[in-house]
């Protein structure tokens, strides 16, 4: 029976059916659910690793040991695991090895919109790109066969719209995959120069073989309709094009996006009058076509930025006007995401703003600390950068600047890549203050366990990294725990630690308000002592608003966390309905 499945669920199903037995990933939207769905199968050992590099290496080890394995990440996660990627391309695999990478054109929840297809080319590995959930499952299963056949890791490229759309998938049985034999093979798996030189020859031979395979594989398909227009596209762009143009054009659908075929593309181009290349982000197919001497239409009409739509394709290719639509005659206020009511990060940023500190920021829910009215974050680059970049700032501008500077980093992000920056601070005699925002979970990506939470992805209790002992063991002598909702005490601690002429860590500890274990009750209301000073509104709580005359707390939004009670100087907020 067919059922609706997210692209990500279908990837996990494909891994299951292919007999995969090890999956290791680090979360990242829009890839996270693949690993969460994989964890539901008892037959698959699944884990959240501390970061993508570790995750990829666990998968590589499992492959070398003879299992079919997988590691999944968002596009920027591929930057983190690029080091092992480029060399596992040389060693090749034993059991099939698949990396799934999910791009985010339009940046629904990312800090950039890089195109991960470059990685397949740069690492000389095979890349497939499915267009819907049924293809997700099918391509993954095929990817394992091809990984073993061509002795290569295979990358499956996804995008937000493929990962997070549901379409129909037929479930099949799990293959009874037996571990491949493990035999010591130094020339294949020990990449020191003498052996790597020989493996590089193998890699170049493999790319030639894969290119030949691309010419007539089942993933690359020509659909002939009109000979006037031909479209070359892959992934979700292919679906947009089909929706827009239907039978009015012919198609070359590229399911294998690296290496690209040559004859097949030349053959298709010769059959149609005009060739359009429709690819979100970078002109990778387009440049390939141009190198083959084909005069295609690409980025001169289609943007390098953001997502495409069927409507824009219809307009650019057929010159057809868009559907009639209703115009609104006034500006509508945007609704950006905000820190939830009860979010522990709110207390931290309230204090940092009050103290007017420079805040070297990082990635997580707390990045929203840059939004008004808290507006307190100064920078966000990539995971971990809050700590190391603050050392750079302090070294550049000196002691006085450093006394008004802190780093903020979430618990998951600290383990991912903040700890190495902190070691740099200690080793190179920095005296930065790092605030670890410990909300007991990986919040941003939808509540994943991590090494500091004490549970595995399967919900089993495990050892918990102790942040205090960890920081002390690398040489940070000043480590304090403070509750960000105890505003006075938190402020005192921040002042004291930024004053100190040595490295310090403040662990801002309070769990995410959305965790089931957190039980705030009742809700806050304004009483008649209110002087309308609006101090409470500086918290940026979604439940508190000003209606032009009074401050109001929306009972459907408020969860009774009580932070506003702590900021009110007049005792004008109280809690009702507490259980």
């Amino acid at each position: 029976m067919k059922r609706l499945m997210l692209g990500n669920e279908a990837i996990a199903r494909g891994a299951y059916e292919a007999g995969v037995s090890v999956v290791s990933s680090y979360p990242g939207t829009p890839s996270t659910e693949i690993t969460e769905y994989a964890a539901k199968y008892n037959e698959i050992y699944t884990e959240w690793a501390p970061n993508e590099k570790v995750a990829a290496e666990v998968a590589i080890g499992a492959s070398i040991a003879g299992a079919r394995s997988m590691s999944c990440m968002k596009h920027v996660g591929m930057n983190v695991m690029a080091d092992p990627l480029f060399t596992v391309s040389y060693t090749g695999v034993n059991g099939g090895l698949v990396f799934c990478v999910a791009d985010d054109p339009g940046m629904h929840s990312s800090q950039n919109e890089q195109d991960s297809r470059h990685y397949a080319k740069a690492s000389k590995t095979m890349m497939l790109e499915p267009s819907d959930s049924a293809e997700c499952k099918y391509f993954v299963k095929k990817a394992y066969e091809l990984s073993e056949k061509f002795d290569t890791p295979v990358i499956i490229r996804l995008s937000t719209r493929v990962s997070h759309s549901q379409s129909l998938v037929e479930e099949e049985e799990r293959e009874n995959y037996l571990l491949k034999d493990y035999t010591k093979n130094i020339p294949k798996y020990v990449m020191m120069p003498g052996m790597a030189r020989k493996r590089h020859v193998v890699v170049e031979d493999r790319i030639r073989a894969l290119t030949a395979f691309a010419e007539d594989c089942e993933f690359n398909k020509i659909e002939m309709n009109s000979s006037k227009i031909g479209i070359i596209a892959s992934g979700i762009s292919y679906m947009y094009a089909k929706e827009a143009l239907g039978d009015k054009s012919s198609y070359l659908k590229l399911g294998m996006v690296y290496p690209l075929p040559e004859k097949l593309i030349l053959d298709f181009a010769s059959k149609v009058e005009k060739v359009y290349v429709i690819e979100e982000l970078d002109p990778i197919f387009e440049q390939h076509c141009r190198a083959l001497g084909i005069d295609v239409i690409g980025k001169e009409v289609f943007s390098l930025l953001g997502e495409y739509t069927s409507e824009m394709i219809k307009k650019s290719v057929l010159g057809e006007a868009a559907s009639q639509k209703i115009e609104l005659d006034e500006e509508i206020p945007v609704r950006p995401p905000v820190m939830c009511a009860g979010c522990p990060h709110r207390g931290t940023f309230y204090v940092l703003k009050k103290l007017n500190l420079t805040v070297s920021g990082d990635i997580g829910c707390y990045t929203l600390g840059a939004a008004a009215p808290l507006s307190s974050l100064d920078t966000t680059i990539c995971m971990g950068a809050s700590v190391s970049a603050a050392l750079g700032m302090a070294k550049a501008r000196g002691r006085d600047f450093n006394k008004k500077l802190v780093s903020v980093i979430g618990d998951s992000t600290f383990i991912h890549s903040g700890i190495t920056g902190l070691i740099d601070i200690v080793y190179n005699k920095g005296s930065n203050t790092v605030i670890i925002l410990d909300n007991s979970i990986t919040g941003m990506t939808g509540h994943q366990e991590n090494p500091t939470t004490g549970y595995t992805i399967k919900g089993e209790p495990t050892k918990q990294v102790n942040l205090i002992t960890l920081c002390k063991s690398i040489g940070v002598d000043r480590v304090v725990i403070a509750d960000p909702f105890n505003l006075k005490e938190f402020e005192r601690v921040v002042k004291e630690e930024t004053e100190a002429d040595e490295p310090s860590v403040i662990i801002a500890q309070r769990p995410c308000a959305l965790l089931k274990s957190v039980k705030y009750t009742g809700n806050c209301v304004i009483n008649d002592k209110c002087k309308k000073c609006k101090v409470c509104m500086k918290l940026g709580c979604p439940a508190i608003s000003w209606n032009g005359e009074n401050i109001k707390i929306d009972a459907t939004q408020c969860n009774g966390c009580g932070l506003c009670i702590n900021v009110c100087p007049f005792g004008a907020i109280e809690k009702v309905g507490e259980k």
Binding site: L4, R161, A244, Q324, L328, P336, L368, T556
Partner: protein, 189 residues
């Protein structure tokens, strides 16, 4: 002809359940179906949009402006924002609940006035106080199911189909409340 239904609201309002139920009803009617969601930051009070498309064969999971047959809006401002997506002759079902976005809360922007009238002027619209109906059903969290009920009346699928899918999708302990909420919505117009 494919049908395109767009569901809009604020993160945390339960729009995903609505799109999943609708998707499953469409499958049981024998259609090809695509449902598109954007996850990730949606817990944090931002605008959320899901698309449900069904018919003989669906390619793109996305609905472009001017293409939605029905818009189901969980919040008034989000209804207004989504209007350009409505097809000529399409219908919008609007929950009259208001949730102020942050730019309004901090006084940077104003929550537009008389949205209901403005929507009515432009398109075929029904307005529902789903919060009140959910309360009547016994749980304010059932707002989404009330709205599904209203929408169900506007599709070709039979009442029994909806109930069947509802039974499969909603946890057993909430089923009674949800069936009540669905009926309140279904019989509202």
């Amino acid at each position: 002809m494919n049908k395109s239904i767009m569901i809009v609201g604020v993160g945390g309002q339960g729009t995903l359940l609505a799109s999943r139920i609708l998707g499953n009803v469409a499958i049981s009617e024998g259609y090809d179906v695509k449902v598109s969601e954007v996850h990730g930051m949606s817990q944090r009070g931002g605008s959320v949009v899901t698309y449900v498309k069904y018919g003989e064969k669906v390619f793109s999971p996305i609905i472009d402006e001017g293409e939605a047959d029905i818009i189901l809006a969980f919040e008034l401002l989000e209804a207004y924002r989504a209007l350009p997506y409505l097809k000529k002759g399409g219908k919008i079902i609007v929950n009259t609940q208001r949730i102020s976005p942050m730019p309004v809360i901090i006084g940077d922007k104003k929550y537009p006035e008389n949205i209901e009238e403005k929507i009515k002027e432009k398109v075929d619209a029904v307005f529902v106080d789903a919060l009140k109906a959910a309360e009547e059903a016994g749980n304010i969290k059932a707002v989404n199911v009330v709205l599904i009920g209203v929408m169900a009346k506007n599709t070709d699928a039979a009442y029994e189909k909806w109930i069947e899918v509802l039974k499969q999708t909603v946890p057993a302990k909430f089923l009674e409340v949800n069936l009540k909420a669905f009926d309140l919505g279904y019989n509202m117009f």
